[in-house]
């Protein structure tokens, strides 16, 4: 295994994180908060250590699939461990594991929190907490791909490990250009949201943090009631933008190229909006039948559905109090997740679509034996490898899910809490139901359960295999032996 290259990538990731820590420092300066000082040593330390690690570029810059996955998974762990230091050192989150949980939740854009009183945090801490969403949304390594020089296939192996979806499509021939376009679209949409939120009378700080939270489909609220106290205008703007960030970014690229027909024909995007509309309709019908006012119900239903399907996790209402059907719809949406190639988590709409088509293909083969059919997406036959990959993903997903529920049930909390806590972290959403509902938090779990949930968040964000690979012994077999040639 090319350990030197993994060291190099990790070094760069650390240095970039250190550089981005300048932003909360700035926030601390603006608000004159002493807690901001804690960012300075951590940022400088990250820059120094990262700089040293990335100082010497390895002679062999090839990254194979294994190195790509390991480098990605390790860099996310290192980023989280370093990113949590300011919270812990400043004493605002007194327990180290809690700080790790909060930061992992930030980078993986989960938005699950252990804090019961968010408003007690100093502003620079809140800013950093929300900014981790923005960084984690598109991925730090995708950012690095714009800067680093390495052989072509190697870039692809890194990008594939970090990008969500059954198969990674490039918008442009080169990974570097693709990464740049993705970040430009990401930045453009974020800025647009900030402007629209400002227009709604939101203070700049709040607008920035809310935009980071929705851009990464993260969901750290900056108020104790998440977004319930915001004006209807702001709630609608947020609803629309989280839906936009949950859409496959290829859609925007096609729009930019003015290929309207191709963009609007994207099967996944159409299905995604269809699911959103249907879910909103079901919830509105049920709530209105219970006698609620239509206007507010529509807004709440749309907000909650958008927030859950895109795996953001903002809330404007305590949906824990909703009737069972509506609650169940939300739980189902947790698993569906956003589109591939977006910043959202979950199983992804395209995978669901492929799985359903595979099922129908199987059914068809019972009716007409020996009939040949290919599973298609966007009118193109899918490679057998992709279909197989999706099936294996689902199996692994269910295994990890079941095991996690089992492990955190050791805490003794009720079934719904445990089930939705794992669903909410594994799918990178944030709030679940009952104890971990929108008004609750994850603070009451034991340290062991928190560690399991941290693992779930990372595994969910990186789509299982890069993280699972770290725990698979053959990955490390022979990794630390110097080959005879390397020694010579």
């Amino acid at each position: 295994m090319n350990l030197a290259m993994i060291r190099y990538v990790l070094g760069w990731a650390l240095a970039v994180e250190g550089a981005f820590m300048a932003l909360p420092c700035l926030a601390a300066l603006v608000y004159g908060e002493a807690a901001g000082w804690w960012f300075v040593p951590v940022a400088l330390g990250a820059l120094l250590v990262g700089g040293l690690m990335a100082w010497r570029k390895p002679a062999d810059t090839t990254i194979y699939v294994r190195e790509g996955c390991v480098a990605t998974a390790l860099s996310w762990i290192v980023l989280s461990l370093v990113g949590c230091l300011p919270f812990w050192l400043s004493g605002e989150i007194p327990f180290f594991l809690d700080a790790v949980f909060e930061t992992v939740s930030g980078f993986t854009t989960t938005g699950a929190s252990i804090l019961s009183d968010v408003e007690a945090l100093s502003r620079c801490m809140v800013f950093w907490r929300s900014f981790t969403h923005w960084l984690g949304g598109m991925g730090v390594l995708v950012f690095l791909l714009m800067v680093l020089q390495m052989p072509g296939g190697s870039r692809m192996n890194l990008m594939r490990a970090e990008s969500p979806g059954p198969s990674v499509g490039k918008l442009k021939p080169k990974v570097r250009q693709t990464a740049r376009i993705l970040y430009l679209i990401y930045l453009g949409l974020t800025v647009l949201e900030v402007i629209l939120l400002l227009a709604g009378g939101m203070p700049l700080f709040d607008a920035l943090c809310t935009s980071f939270g929705s851009a990464g489909t993260g969901g750290f609220g900056i108020y104790n009631d998440s977004m319930a106290s915001c004006s209807p205008y702001i709630q609608w703007v947020t609803t629309i933008f989280i839906l936009l960030f949950g859409t496959n970014f290829t859609f925007y690229y096609l729009l930019l190229l003015r290929r309207w027909k191709q963009a609007l024909g994207m099967e996944e995007v159409r299905l995604y909006f269809l699911i959103v509309l249907a879910s909103v309709a079901v919830i509105v019908l049920q709530l209105c039948a219970g006698g609620a006012a239509f206007g507010k119900t529509l807004r709440d239903a749309a907000f909650q559905v958008a927030s859950i399907i895109t795996t953001t996790g903002f809330a404007t209402v305590d949906f824990n109090q909703w009737p069972q059907t509506s609650r169940s719809v939300l739980v189902v949406l947790m698993f569906v997740g956003a589109c591939a190639g977006s910043t959202g988590g979950g199983i992804k709409v395209s995978r669901i679509s492929i799985l359903c088509k595979t099922m129908f293909k199987e059914l068809h083969s019972y009716v007409v034996p020996k009939s040949v059919r290919k599973v298609e997406l966007d009118g193109k036959p899918l490679n057998h490898e992709v279909v197989r990959g999706v099936n294996v993903f689902l199996v692994s997903y269910l295994l990890v899910f079941t095991l996690s529920v089992l492990l955190i049930s050791l805490d003794g909390t009720d079934m719904v809490t445990n089930f939705t806590a794992v669903a909410a972290t594994f799918n990178n959403i944030g709030p679940g139901l009952e104890l971990v509902g929108p008004t609750g938090n994850f603070g009451h779990f034991s340290p062991f359960a928190k560690a399991v949930l941290c693992f779930d968040m990372l595994a969910g964000r990186l789509e299982l295999f890069p993280v699972l690979l770290l725990f698979y012994p053959p990955t490390w077999k022979g990794a630390f032996h110097r080959t005879r040639r390397a020694a010579a």
Partner: protein, 464 residues
């Protein structure tokens, strides 16, 4: 509408490559190293994903000649379309469609004699920028070697007026232990030593460099002087009188035609009767033998022991290599040239005592690369030819100096050239000269540069 943006050169050109075969992959490797934006097209999904997994390029699965597929591959913004599928017809069709669909330069690989005879006509009528025929290029390279059998390789520059020749210095040669500077006094003709390979290392030598036996020496000189020089240094310089070609492939046809034209007797062994008959009509002066070329008895009967040159041209590399080794064993005096199409293991092949090796894939790649580099460069210089030597560590590039190049009319001694770079040869008004410090470059000159800096795109880049 001006589709091509001015700044496109720096970001690399947009290139569509149809066909992910041997040549396709080797082109992708070289072109993506030079920073171009490449989209590959092939019918076989597996071939496309193999390339996109290995290199930083995007891929489209489909028929490259279809307008829709070309659209998807981005023909609107493409600068160059290169078609190297197995079928000549498909290649020509791809280029024709691309020419109409987008505003790009097109390059087609055409191998069958049916089309390549009228390559110039096709090029003009179909608006192709380049028609490349690897089999013919390989045949010409082999023919040059048979005309100068002592050489390990012979490459022609300046439209055939200058030659770059590589030889190995044998034990007890006049060159053994000599300094290049003292050699200079004996050399009456215009000859320049550009590179020496010694135990795996490549040197671009200066005057103090001392030669030794076993070195592989590369020199450049006007084509007609190379024999004279080698003769003076005690090398055998006669061209071969007869040649035995094993396998009646397209390359064999091109080679036989070329050799017959300069008066070499040609025998061709071919296993397929129909092909034998076809060849005997096409090449009435050649002797066509029907039989299995890998049969040692048949080879003896065909006169391998008397042959002055043996060239295995079967479609299978392994057979070619074994046939060469056999020929060198039974007929040590004969010149053997091995054609290798795939070369998956260059290190292993280098260990074998094969003598001269010709690789059509590399010839094609180099020719296309020369074209692509010129496209990316400014207007005041142009790359006419390009050759990779010593495992791609050294490049020999022929530039055409245009009006407005910043190097014109300055004595060479005043130019601050890069290290490890040599201006090996100037070609002006039909004359080849080996430049000294007082010579200047004029507009319209062709300049051959030998350097270890790979990737030069224009003449001005030879300056430090």
């Amino acid at each position: 509408m001006a589709r091509r943006k001015a700044g496109a050169a720096r970001d690399g050109l947009n290139i569509i490559l149809v066909g992910c075969g041997k040549v396709g992959v080797s082109l992708v490797e070289k072109l993506s190293q030079e920073g171009h934006n490449i989209t590959v097209v092939d019918r076989r999904a597996a071939a496309v994903s193999a390339v996109t997994d290995l290199y930083d390029v995007s891929g489209v699965v489909g028929n490259g000649a279809s307008y829709r597929v070309q659209q998807e591959a981005g023909i609107d913004e493409a600068d160059i379309l290169i078609s190297v599928t197995a079928s000549d017809e498909l290649n020509l069709l791809c280029c024709t469609v691309a020419k109409k669909a987008g505003n790009c330069a097109t390059i087609a690989r055409v191998r069958t004699p049916d089309y390549s005879e009228d390559a110039d006509y096709l090029k003009e009528k179909l608006g192709l920028a380049m028609v490349i025929n690897p089999e013919r290029e390989a045949a010409l390279a082999i023919a040059r070697l048979l005309c100068l059998p002592t050489a390990l390789s012979v490459t022609s520059f300046a439209g055939g007026h200058a030659e770059m020749v590589r030889i190995r210095i044998p034990q007890g040669s006049k060159l053994d232990g000599r300094c290049l500077r003292e050699l200079g006094k004996e050399l009456v003709g215009p000859v320049l030593v550009c590179a020496v390979e010694r135990s795996g290392q490549v040197y671009i030598p200066d005057g103090g460099f001392q030669l030794a036996s076993g070195d592989a020496l590369t020199f450049i000189c006007p084509s007609r002087d190379s024999k004279q020089f080698l003769g003076r240094m005690g090398f055998e310089t006669h061209q071969v009188h007869n040649a035995l070609l094993i396998g009646g492939s397209k390359a064999a046809y091109y080679l036989a035609r070329r050799l017959l034209a300069v008066g070499v007797q040609v025998r061709i062994i071919e296993a397929d009767m129909a092909r034998c008959e076809e060849l005997s009509c096409l090449l009435p002066k050649a002797i066509i033998l029907h039989g299995d070329g890998t049969d040692a008895d048949l080879l003896r009967e065909a006169g391998i022991l008397q042959a002055e040159a043996v060239v295995p041209l079967t479609g299978i590399d392994e057979e070619n290599i074994l046939l060469t080794l056999h020929a060198r064993a039974v007929a040590p005096g004969a010149k053997a040239v091995t054609k290798i199409n795939r070369i998956m293991y260059p290190e292993a092949v280098a260990q074998l005592d094969l003598g001269s090796v010709v690789c059509p894939k590399h010839l094609t790649t180099d020719a296309i690369l020369a074209f692509v580099r010129s496209r990316g460069a400014s207007k005041n210089s142009n790359i006419e030819a390009l050759m990779h030597m010593f495992d791609n560590r050294v490049e020999a590039i022929e530039f055409l100096a245009g009006e407005g190049s910043p190097l014109l009319d300055i004595p060479l001694r005043e130019l601050a050239l890069r290290d490890h770079l040599l201006i090996a040869c100037l070609f002006r008004n039909g004359r080849t000269l080996i430049p000294g410090g007082d010579d200047c470059i004029h507009a319209g000159d062709r300049i051959i540069v030998v350097t270890t800096h790979t990737g030069l795109r224009e003449l001005a880049e030879i300056l430090a």
